[in-house]
Amino acid sequence: MKVKELLAAVIIVLFFLLCYFFSPKPVQFSPTVSVVVIILLSLAFVYVFIRTFQGKFIGRRTVFVFVGVSLLLPFFMQFSLPVLISPEVRSVYDALEELPPGSKVLASFDYDPASAPELQPMADAFMKYAFEHGLKVIIMGLWPQGPQQADQSVQAAFAENPGLRDSIKYGRDYVNLGFQAGNEFVILRMGESFKAMFPTDLYNTPYDSIPLLKNVSNFSNVDFGMNFSAGKPGTVEWVQIASDRYKLPMGAGNTAVQAPMAYPYMKKGESGRKQLIGLLGGMAGGAEFEKLTKKQAKATTYLLSQSFAHMVVIMFIIIGNVAFFREKKEKE
């Protein structure tokens, strides 16, 4: 390793140690400082534009610094952005609102920690809503990490509303069936019998011993299905089998990568039935759902960083294209 790089590594380590031990906690920019930061970022973009226009593309590491700074600094700003509710998110919320207390909701957590920044906020909001409105939640996962992510949502709901810790009882109000391998075959089997796929819950309690599952044998005994999905298996499989074959009303929360593929499922068919009632798409969908369920938390906080990041990518695309057109014109 070169001396310069070693020095840079030492400086970075020192920076983090200094931040840990000596920085104010938390760090909050005043509105003036926030505006100054935005102006400085804009000026930096002007510099990038001029250089690119002159044919000197900035290095990829400079682009990385821009992205990192634009993602990080908004955390310290005190702006809050208005969150407008999209029809897809509203549909999920309305469907949940229509469920009377005591209704059974099957919640499938089909994601891993890599997708948690997008899906965990909406899962937390959903769990808190379900507990506060008396919905009985049957948790399961088609991804191995799903049940653990679900448990984090349960703990988050209890942390946000400590009263729930006394009123909500495992086995009576919610149960975690755990994970089963088999992807869509798990859903298919559950169409006949939940017990066949999950003979015990996460804690090896026999299925028949769990009060919540007393009269639950398959999808026909469940009132609503909610799926938090980061890929395959996920929403598509749940729609194809649970919704289309077994007519379970389904709502979904997806990562933003997956969300565009779910839109065709939200159109009413000839029968007047939607394959998917609604969709919480990405972090923005999570923020909207948080607003509807009156839980202003992570996703809402992250929206400012998200907005900055989008602006940065758009600026880079515009700058690159302006340079491209100028070069094209010169060649002609």
């Binding site: 593309f57 990829r60 682009v63 990385f64 992205v67 990192g68 993602l71 952005l81 208005p82 407008l84 999209s86 029809p87 891993d112 920690p113 890599a114 997708s115 948690a116 990490q145 049940p147 653990q148 448990d151 703990q155 755990g178 089963q180 391998a181 088999g182 992807n183 075959f185 798990v186 298919l188 089997r189 006949e192 019998s193 066949a196 996460l202 804690y203 090896n204 309690t205 565009p260 593929m261 839109y263 065709p264 939200m266 798409g281 990405g282 923005a284 929206l303 998200q306 907005s307 990041a309 989008h310 940065v312 990518v313 758009i314 880079f316 695309i317 700058i319 690159g320 294209n321 491209f324």
Partner: protein
Amino acid sequence: MKRELPLTIAFIAGIAFIIAYFIPHPPFNRFENWFSDWFAIIAAFAIWLGALNLMKISFIKIIRKKSDWLHAILIIISFVIILFFGFYEGYRGLHADPPFSFRDPGTSFDWIYVNVYTPLSATMFALLAFFVASASYRAFRARNLEATLLLLAAFFVMLGRVPVGDIITGWLPMEYQMSQWASWIMNVLNTAGQRAIMIGIALGLVSTSLRIILGLERAYMGGD
């Protein structure tokens, strides 16, 4: 037997699910249930195969002192550590009163999941944020009409899905603001394109599935 039996197995498995779809009554649904249960068990062994293959490759690297053999040692050590704690906590949880899961908060397995697996997994994917910005700057060009349409759609969606879009177009009536445009693009234009792709894939999948079930497609068996 090396080729005929697998083809027969594939045929029986495939046909069972097709028939059970149309006749979901005994005995056809019973075959579907059995096959689904077997699939779940075989899936576990398939994952084990991958993990054990990784260990086999790592051991070979160490024994033959190939490049990166030190990293292979690290892979094996990490694997063994989590395996130990996974089996230990699982066994302990089974025999505890009340029983607990090996994944419960407070267990060593959960500690490794939260403090080792989660940050590594999450950060690996998070790096893509930087690469997507760099790639957009260097390669995303409106060379023709189609590329321009792609760009414009991306702009509208990126601005419309965050509140900044509505702040920029706040002076317009509500129904013409950026979020409404993004919503219309997603619900109408995107839906049309996605539908075409979905239908095309579904039709292709049907023909490929038929070829597999009828034994015309044998690539999954590998060579002799």
